[in-house]
Amino acid sequence: MTTVVSVTALTRSFGQRRGITDVTFDVTGGEVFGFLGPNGAGKSTTIRLLLGLYRPTSGQMRIFDLDPTLGPVAVHRRVGYLPGELVLYPRLTGRQHLDRFASARRLTDHRYRDELVERFNAELDRPVRDLSKGNRQKIGLVLAFMHRPDLLVLDEPTAGLDPLLQDEFCQLVRETAATGRTVFLSSHDLDEVQRLVDRLAIIKDGRIVVTDTVDGLRAAAPRTIEFRFAAPVAPSAFDGLDGVRVVRGEGPSVVVSVTGPLGPLLSRAAALNPTELTARPADLEELFLSYYRTGQGDSYEQ
């Protein structure tokens, strides 16, 4: 697969204000790449650098093998962008926005644009200042997708959309990726991320803390297992097992969190005469939140 976005040791500092530091990741063609992080982590700064809106302090980035700082026009021709805080011209209608931006992109075939308008039920004939946030977001989505760009950079794309339209958006992203186009998706919505993305990076305090596939993260996510034994068991009975941490131990009930192999744990438990076992699936949300909270130590890539 071709690399569509390549970012190496990208750094942008803003004097006293923290920017991003040594951000490195690649996005391959046809994938949906998630970019996650808490507010102020550096997501929008990274996106603005990728689009040539900011200049980097150091590091390298290539979009379609082009430098967006030196040749932004060629990059913008192939990119559709939805900003995180979409601001449209309040006095213009949605239709005026679409017409003017289509003209600037020299888009003459409006069929796909019209299809998107119908699909999202976008209101086009009222001035933008009279529209709700959700209706403005629909226009933003049409502006981003209407020219069938090779790369979509979407910053919080479903903000303000109702659940039905969020589903419609997810369907559109899947269709887009299925045609070989690439989607770079920044989102707070973990459910949306789990449903859509192939790989993701988590950024915290301006640094990438993990880059992995969703399946890889799920495999690394702790599973919670609760044992109930015939007689009270001391939590220390599970000491010394790799990847096993006792979460709670009260009388005959012991709850453990497991990130390693299950065999040694089950062998140890079997010797203690268990009467009941309950296992909960990997909690991806908890894993994401733990990255947000702590950064999980050093960054790594898989």
Partner: protein, 262 residues
Amino acid sequence: MNSDVLRIDLRLRRRGTCWYTTGIAIYTLVIVALYPSFKNDTSLDQLTAHDSTVAALFGANGPLTTPTGWLNANLYANFLPLILLLVTTGYGAASLAGQDEDGTLGLIATLPVSRPTIVAQKALALVILAVPLSVVTLACAFAGRGFQLTISTSDLLAITAGTLLLGVDFGAIAMLIGALTASRSAAVGITAAIAATSYLIATLAPVVPWLHPARYGSLFYYAVANDQLAHGLTLLSAAVLVATGLAATLGAARAFERLDIH
């Protein structure tokens, strides 16, 4: 050249331009229509008879009862430049810094349009926004011929060009400062300070000897304060005004290349 950025900005400013143009038209017609009532009022001329500083402050430095003196003191030396500067400085400050603060510049800057092209289109919009005011004022001044206010066509055209270029220059300066500072208020404030200083130098230079050489540093001197209504716009003055506008626009393009867009 793709003109969509230009068309968006003109569309957004259409209503304001109409109101400014209507206002200046009404004002000019009133001034023109009042002339017959004052053309024999010799007391007015006493204001400027002895190089009055007060009269100079209002841009009047000759007899006020002549057609040129009347129009100069009431329109071309002060009021028209003021209105033009409101329009052009307002747009110049909003076009880059203001739209960046509003958040709309990011939409434009991610279109396949280069930053120098964006600045070129905004500079063109600046000129186009100033034209209706200048042209309507010119038409109303021509209407003065029906009120004994007769000024040669060439001189009226010259001062129209001078005021138009003056407005465009300060608009381009506001655009430049906006691109340098990313602040609309800084762009408006600094440009207003430059314009006010420039105006004071040009108007007071004839009555304050030590200011006399400084008039060459004032754009008002080249545009309206050197008897352009009586003697036309010299080639040198036109060249200075055009060169200033071009230099400010090129500077804005250069600064905009380095601006962080939000």
